[in-house]
Symmetry: D3
């Protein structure tokens, strides 16, 4: 169900049957010495494929560029402004609607995209009320994450290149992880980071927010499987709600 592998003679009928399309969206962003710049892309893509299989959805090609304001001054990061990203996602959604999809699911691997995805979804909602748009970022994993985590967390909301995200990668895309280079770096994030523009170079040199050494594929599996299960439920719920 890889959308871009389909041909135009048969895809229309398949769209009508499936109704659901998933857009993986990630970023190119610094992730420390042991994870690649494309970490969020690999995660979004692998998650999307897994979810697609279970829901009969199509998977679009990954949008591999996202809003990377906080880490944009780190080596390798590429930053798209919220405004550009919103418009780009809106255009994709418009075409998907015109192609006949009823349910447009964005599966996100990068927290920085959240604002643009929500805003694009609202604009699509306003323009095409009968297109349902979902924006998903590891939904419902708070509890399992707390259970799984051994190391300390640098922040209550952010996780980045740490025990958690590295575990995701060890489970979903281990071929891109070099655990021999994993580090433990638990920076003190100043409270002001939540209330004033704070590029991350102000508190970390590594872009790692935690104990990457504590990561394991098993930990990743536990959280990711919950996330996938929740995504499936949310998609099925939305599908049932379609008119």
């Amino acid at each position: 169900m890889i959308f871009q592998n389909e041909n135009s003679f048969e895809v229309k009928e398949k769209i009508e049957k499936s109704q659901i399309v998933i857009l993986p969206i990630g970023a190119v962003e610094a992730h420390g010495p042991h994870l690649p710049l494309g970490t969020d892309n690999f995660l979004a893509e692998r998650l999307s494929e897994r979810v697609a299989k279970k829901t009969g959805a199509f998977v679009l090609p990954t949008l591999p560029y996202g809003q990377v304001w906080s880490l944009k001054n780190f080596p390798g990061s590429i930053n798209i402004s919220n405004e550009s990203l919103i418009n780009f996602l809106f255009d994709i959604g418009t075409s998907l609607y015109e192609q006949g999809f009823k349910l447009f699911v964005m599966i996100n691997g990068h927290l920085g995209n959240a604002v643009a995805m929500k805003e694009a979804a609202r604009k699509l909602y306003s323009e095409y009320p009968d297109l349902r748009v979902l924006y998903l970022f590891y939904p419902g994993v708070k509890q399992i994450t707390e259970e799984v985590r051994d190391g300390k967390s640098a922040h209550s909301t952010y996780f980045h290149a740490c025990e958690i995200e590295t575990s995701y990668m060890l489970y979903l895309a281990p071929e891109y992880v070099d655990m021999s280079r994993a580090i433990t770096d638990i920076p003190t994030i100043p409270p002001s980071a939540d209330i004033t523009p704070t590029p991350w170079e102000e508190f970390t040199k590594t872009a790692v927010l935690g104990d990457a050494k504590a990561a394991t594929a098993e930990k990743g599996e536990k959280i990711i499987e919950v996330a996938i299960e929740n995504m499936i439920k949310l998609i099925e719920g939305a599908k049932n709600g379609l008119k």
Copy 2:
């Protein structure tokens, strides 16, 4: 030299050394019964990898969505407006410049992107005069194409899902081609298509503009190798011109 496989600890030095970065850009677009929707993405990506190897450039993740106005009403097409695409490319270019690249090469697999790429390049030129930006779409293949072509061409400028583009795919990405379904369809494109907005459904039902059956990997090789050679020359030329 896959950029997103790099890590943030080492990439800075490598950027300084390489100076060159390639963005493959394609589209999701109807390409008839024998070619996939992602044809332009596969071509842009494979070309970019080939060119990167010869020039020591980095290859960015493919931007897999483009301007698909003419075919947007065909099954499977996804259309980004010129305006959205220009802004997105400008943001990417800005980050690449800030990351230290000196030469930003867009390798295009889809003619419809040409206007946005050129406009983005001009905006980048105006904003960052010491960043060199190239936009490449099979440069310098006119003569070899005419030599290679057996079938008739539907249009002097466009080629689409035809003998030529199918040959490209047979050479660069044969696993996505189903020659058993290739067709010959040489529509009469009305002269007015060049001077008034003309969605392609007005003159073709298949989105194939020529004799796809006449495609061979050998033909593809002949043209593509010329294109690659020219791209390398243009990149080397631009590199030599860097201050």
Copy 3:
């Protein structure tokens, strides 16, 4: 220190001395039968005055319109788009910077403004690196809120016209509250509300998300005093960090 009560002959010197300016920002929005449409304006304004006294800051006139997407279909709500709000806040910040302020503090009474405030702050940060911009929404009250709360909460993040917000009003602006009309309404917010555009009329008829009857001025005092204390700390911290 009410800014608009100052005159232009003396204000310049006072700005140089104070360096800090607070913009209260709220919204006109449905808040059930017992709270006025201007609830978020009254809260932002009273909070700002309190904080200003302790920090020597100026208080600007309240910006009484905000982003009210979720409740915009409820009687009395007025909605400003994120885009318009960002530009408006950016213009205010530009003038404040040109007037000589070093620290621009937005004190927010309405969660819906958070995205626009953060985006405006980032744009100002990029344009005027030596202007410090803070966006504050009851910072650091999570723990005290959980301690104080008697009733059930409808959502882990949102609070609206409920035990908590009504308590704020009873403490800060009791003359606008009609407790005789307070209601208990704890709607079931569907999990999908976090992942798809969900106007609140889909799950509540009253716009009250909790037990407004349980509100008291004492509860409000406990939380608000913590919020004020935290705001002062954050402002003092930022002031000390000024170059």
Copy 4:
């Protein structure tokens, strides 16, 4: 009839009954030594309340920021661009229309807002033809002003912090006026000020354009009562014209 004091349970019915809503709009702007920065806000607000009482209209919270290009370099001024102001007013008008109002009256205290208000009104007219939008700035007071004025006028169109505006304040908001500091300053405004961008610092140091000492509450009363009467007539006229 203070809109933000209403609650969402009753306001809908009241909107249907009243049909009319007034937005006071002013500015934060230098007004010399005897008048506060918020002069235009106080005037717009007091006028609006008076007009509302006579017409059964709702009064919205004052929009206290306006286009202050000419005086933006004076201490205390805050300037919103025409573009930002137009969009903000358009959003407010859209919500008012969706809320059921038929007649949206902007009562302006600051000449600099005139262009944005008119443009916003035209955009609303084009988008919502059955919403009537009025923009009022002391309508029909030319003759009475000439009768009342004792001092010299610096300009045929502008009046600012002078005999006239100070008289307005003495009548409508005397608690903000410090007549002991009123000055007489009748600058020579160069004719070129009407035909080329001319920030006011080019011809005045005080921002006072006339003889503020000549101001009296009685003068203010005479003009303001004519303005109010005319506003009421215009509103009643527009109300009668509603479909």
Copy 5:
């Protein structure tokens, strides 16, 4: 001194010598039965040529499209939005500045352009402080117009296709006037036209606001010569003020 008749080998030196450039700007707009749609273009152009001769300025090709909101529903009118017009004028001004001009004079034949011209001038002033920009619309003719006028005026500010404007044409461009078809039509413009969007079809069927029959070349001459004299003074004044 017709700019577009110059060649690029000599124009640079001439620009340095002249320093002044005039842009005539008009509109295509209904002007009744006796005047052509291009009336405002002919007037702006002829005025510009006259002024250029006296000031040694270059005259640019006329921009023959303007903001025609009020009459846009009349046969033959073409309307450019303020936003488009501002951007277009800003681009022209930018090029003129880069070409070396010091004084950019817009001579306007159509009142509806006034807002866009002023806004464009302010944007240019902000971006290129050493470019002086003038926007001229029959400056200083109020008194002479009142002396000359025999017929009644429909409005204190507007004049359109009436005794005055027809006299202008009889003096400056008589070959376009058909006095045998001139009419007298003095509509009652409702006072509300000044305070609410009012397309002119609400009060006139002819687009003539006065007694066109009373027009004479002599009347036109008297007013136009005053306007020209004033324009020359303003331009000379601005030229003397150049750094």
Copy 6:
């Protein structure tokens, strides 16, 4: 059939009868020592008049400013951005549609306008599907040009101030040509000019791309007559296709 010479009492009926309107669009741009800056305006205008006579179309006033990126640093050039030009053309098209025209033909004298014209046409097509928009730039003259040309051509697509364009002028607007100053300048345009932003000062000092001395009115006539014939055919074809 000069549109701006018409009056508003009769033009409506004439529009209904003609249905077709032509907008000449050119540029102010360096054209060497022998051709004026307004060359593209003169050509567009004369062509339009000729075509109008044969098709019964109206001719609008020439839009004399265009996109002149490549030559904007040459003396005398005035550059409008693509964005501004698109919006301006869109506004004109909107009015023409509202005025009752069915066929809007842009006759272009300047290659640089091509992108904006096509984009504006597509936007108009999308907004007003029953308005037909044509953008014409010497259609179908490739073969005759090759036959006529004696001198060498500097580029396969561009022609500028050379044998060809000078011949156009000698045929259509000889009074603006000074052949005594014509030069031969065949610059080597680097291949990179097609794939990277390349202002023309990088390869020419004269802005002449060929042998202007070889120009004759006869050559111009041969090509121009073919162009006119083709334009008429395309317009007639489009007219027949109107619903």
